[in-house]
């Protein structure tokens, strides 16, 4: 069916014209609210107080979601929302990595708030259309497309029965449908948010945000991967959200002072040009440059996080990805990004599934995907990883969760907790590529054992225990989830700080709050509990700030200025930190310093923490980690590094391992490590101004200026 025929099948449910409004210093102070229950479309005004306390991005998302939901609202209740918000800096093109959006919702996986950051052009286009955030509530009766037309200043909700569901086709169809012409310069002015078939049938649905690649003449996709927001999108029967603009001008944000932004942007571009090749090679390899490094440092998860390296890891070495990625292309997911790290594999011929035989462009794989659908599942075939990456994307599921879930199911299978009788005859051993493809296609069709895996690790544990009599204690030890979200792809066993960096997160174990493994495990820079607590305060707060402003974290520390080594705190990259302070002030006309930057984050971070507590979570018990994250669960794990663990036992615990069985040594190690984790929680909670139960103290909330009445009402019950 042609795009014209697809469009003819649309039925207009609602159209609303709105007054255009230019951005002023990064803000429009308007939110676009849509309720699909009755097709309400309206504008909301953002107050100065909300702007001051919540800044934008995730901050706005949390505030809107708090106001729109009740403590008992479930992910699939009509009142749950999907909120997309870029932040005040988003949309500038003079500094790298300034096109990010934060998506916020109540997660089907965790039953708490999820926030997921994503590139692509949608967020900036939403702003250029005149809105700081998009807030969608309710459910449509039939599949709809929401169109934000920033050229004609119209919002429409259209029933859209005939387009594809899977993103690699749908993004192309809708880009062509809504572009002013088929000229690539017009196609570039459209961005599409969509999910895919597997988002409908699993809990791990994600959102693809498109951007049109003029050189390749096709849509590229970036993902808001974590926490199942794509599942919510399809539950609301939203097929896609489209934003279109007339074009991108030099200063659509109408910033307070452009010159400092230009100057810092030029300085950063020079660093990328001169230093990237000898540092992270982001332009050539993206984050996939980390695969062999993680393997060298015993941090690359293999076989469900049992081990940190593998003899076949050379097959997925960064030089392999370098050769697979098309080089010399424009690979920035927002205009002006000189880091250019979202690499792509072109003309890749698919070998399986409904699109078998087609040649496609695959975005990535990034490090997390290469480790998640690769090493952690025991798969070291780069082409299989690329194809799994493609299908996760187009089917609308998160590569990180898919990889960790599959790895868990594989370990359950290898240990006899589940058998071929349960898997439908699939031999679910580590490394079985055919099994990986069979199950991902089952997820898309909503069939068979794939549907059960699609419940997520927490869902599988319950299902396997209730239906197959599987040992829950063992599954709790090896099931790499916390708060219901699957772990991202780093082995944290030998870094206590990273164990906290994962399991103490607000949303679940995603490394975007804190990545402390080198500081802790390799550099030995933060040996005491107090040192670790300081790092677990500073870095999560600093990283939160990117998500308030529409910024990508990668330009902060994936290239570092030449003199960075000589600074007092090279881990913080002081020059780049100063860039961010300068840019925030130059965009918004504010006058913050690096301390106020952290305070801005503290307010939002602790609001999110309070949000979780309001929903019955967010306490110490919810920061518990699976033991696999902290130490060896099984004899085979212990034996794989027996000398290392024995030495640790003698030196750290003060127990002589001689004459003890492996089981005895595992138990001694476990007790020690679990005690240390509890001590870490105590120290970090104290540093963060929380009670021993992980609840922000009211006096601390007053100190940071976040003592809103609704916040105090929740916290006062837990002091």
């Amino acid at each position: 069916m042609s795009v014209k025929e697809l469009k003819e099948k649309h039925k207009l449910l609602k159209e609303m014209s709105y007054e255009p409004k230019e951005l002023y210093r990064g803000y429009s102070d308007r939110v676009l609210y849509i309720n699909l229950d009755d097709n309400t479309v309206k504008e909301k005004t953002v107050s100065e107080e909300v702007k001051k306390k919540f800044i934008g991005g995730k901050g706005y998302g949390l505030k809107l979601l708090w106001d729109a939901t009740k403590p008992e609202t479930k992910w699939n209740d009509n009142e749950n929302e999907i909120i997309i918000c870029p932040g005040p800096i988003a949309g500038i093109t003079q500094y790298a990595g300034a096109g990010k959006s934060l998506v916020v919702s109540i997660s089907p996986m965790t039953d708490i708030v999820i926030d997921s950051n994503v590139g692509g052009y949608f967020g900036p286009f939403l702003k250029f259309s005149g809105f700081d955030a998009l807030e969608i509530q309710g459910k449509a009766k039939n599949d709809v497309v929401i169109v934000i037309d920033g050229i004609n200043n119209k919002i429409s909700i259209e029933e859209a029965p005939a387009e594809a569901i899977d993103s690699h086709i749908l993004a192309e169809q809708l880009t062509e449908m809504y572009a002013e012409s088929s000229d690539p310069r017009d196609m570039k002015n459209v961005s599409v948010v969509s999910a895919g078939h597997a988002a409908e049938n699993t809990m791990i649905g994600m959102l693809n945000f498109s951007w049109y690649d003029i050189k390749r003449k096709l849509c590229r996709l970036k993902q808001a991967g974590r926490g199942g927001i794509g599942t919510i999108l399809r539950d609301k029967k939203i097929k896609a959200i489209v934003a279109k603009v007339a074009g991108i001008t030099q200063d659509p944000n109408h910033v307070a002072d452009m010159e400092p932004i230009r100057e810092r942007g030029a300085r950063f571009a020079k660093e990328m040009k001169e230093l990237d090749a000898s540092q992270c090679r982001m332009k050539q390899e993206g984050t996939a440059h980390l695969v062999d490094i993680m393997n060298d440092y015993n941090l690359l998860p293999t076989h469900n996080f049992k081990y940190g390296s593998h003899k076949d890891a050379d097959n997925i070495h960064s030089r392999v990805w370098n050769s697979k990625f098309t080089q010399g292309m424009n690979d920035g997911c927002w205009i002006g990004c000189t880091m250019n790290c979202c690499k792509g594999v072109d003309n890749f011929e698919l070998k399986t599934g409904p699109y078998k035989g087609q040649k496609v462009t695959v975005d990535g794989p990034e490090y997390e995907t290469a480790a998640g659908v690769g090493s952690n599942m025991g798969i070291f075939d780069p082409d299989a990883i690329i194809e799994l990456n493609f299908y996760c994307d187009t089917y609308g599921i998160d590569t990180i969760s898919y990889g960790t879930m599959m790895a868990f199911a594989m370990e359950c299978y290898e240990n006899g907790l589940i058998t071929k009788e349960h898997t439908g005859g699939i031999d679910l051993k580590f490394g079985n590529i055919d099994a990986a493809f069979e199950l991902i296609h089952q997820m898309a069709r909503g069939e068979g054992f794939g549907k059960i895996v699609g419940l997520g690790v927490r869902g599988m544990k319950k299902y396997f225990a209730e239906n197959y009599g599987a040992d829950m204690n063992f599954m709790n030890d090896i099931g790499m989830e916390n708060k219901g979200l699957e772990y991202s792809q780093y082995v944290s066993k030998e870094s206590l700080a990273q164990q906290g960096g994962y399991a103490m997160t607000n949303k679940g174990p995603q490394h975007d709050e804190a990545w402390l493994i080198f500081m802790d495990m390799v550099n030995n820079q933060i040996p005491s509990f107090e040192d670790k607590a300081e790092a677990l305060h500073y870095f999560p707060m600093f990283r939160t700030w990117f998500g308030l402003n529409g910024l990508c974290k990668l330009p902060w520390n994936d290239v570092e200025p030449e003199g960075n080594a000589e600074t007092d705190e090279p881990a913080k990259v002081p020059e780049h930190l100063d860039n961010y302070v300068t840019i925030f002030n130059a965009v918004t006309g504010s006058n913050i310093d690096k301390h106020e930057l952290i305070r801005q984050s503290e307010r939002v971070y602790n609001f999110q923490k309070t949000f979780n507590i309001r929903r019955g979570y967010g306490l110490r018990e919810h920061d518990a980690q699976p033991y696999r994250a902290a130490g060896p669960v099984t004899a085979e794990e212990y034996k794989s590094m027996e000398d290392f663990y024995d030495k640790k036992m003698k030196e750290d615990i003060g127990v002589d391992p001689a004459g003890k069985s492996v089981e005895e040594k595992i138990a001694i190690t476990r007790k020690y490590r679990e005690d240390r984790y509890e001590q870490l929680l105590d120290t970090v909670y104290h540093r963060r101004g929380w009670t021993k139960n992980g609840v922000p103290k009211i006096e601390y909330m007053k100190e940071i200026g976040m003592d809103l009445p609704e916040v105090i009402e929740v916290l006062s019950k837990h002091q």
Partner: protein
């Protein structure tokens, strides 16, 4: 045995051992490193030639990246 300390770990020292040799022994393959020998920074261009003295305290600070 003659030794040095690298990030708190005791490591065997050999006559003529350079900073690059230390990285090789430790399998430190990451590229964004700040290296100090007895508290003084050794610039990258000198890693191949700088001799680490016996008993030295070597810090190989890996800067964060990724994620």
């Amino acid at each position: 045995m003659n030794t040095i300390t690298v990030n708190g770990n005791t490591v065997e020292w050999n006559e003529g051992m350079t900073v690059r040799d230390v990285l090789t022994v430790m399998n430190y393959t990451f590229r964004m490193l700040v290296i100090k020998v007895n508290g003084s920074i050794v610039k990258k261009e000198n890693w191949e030639t700088f001799n680490v003295p016996e008993g030295a305290d070597v810090s190989v600070i890996h800067l964060m990246s990724g994620g």
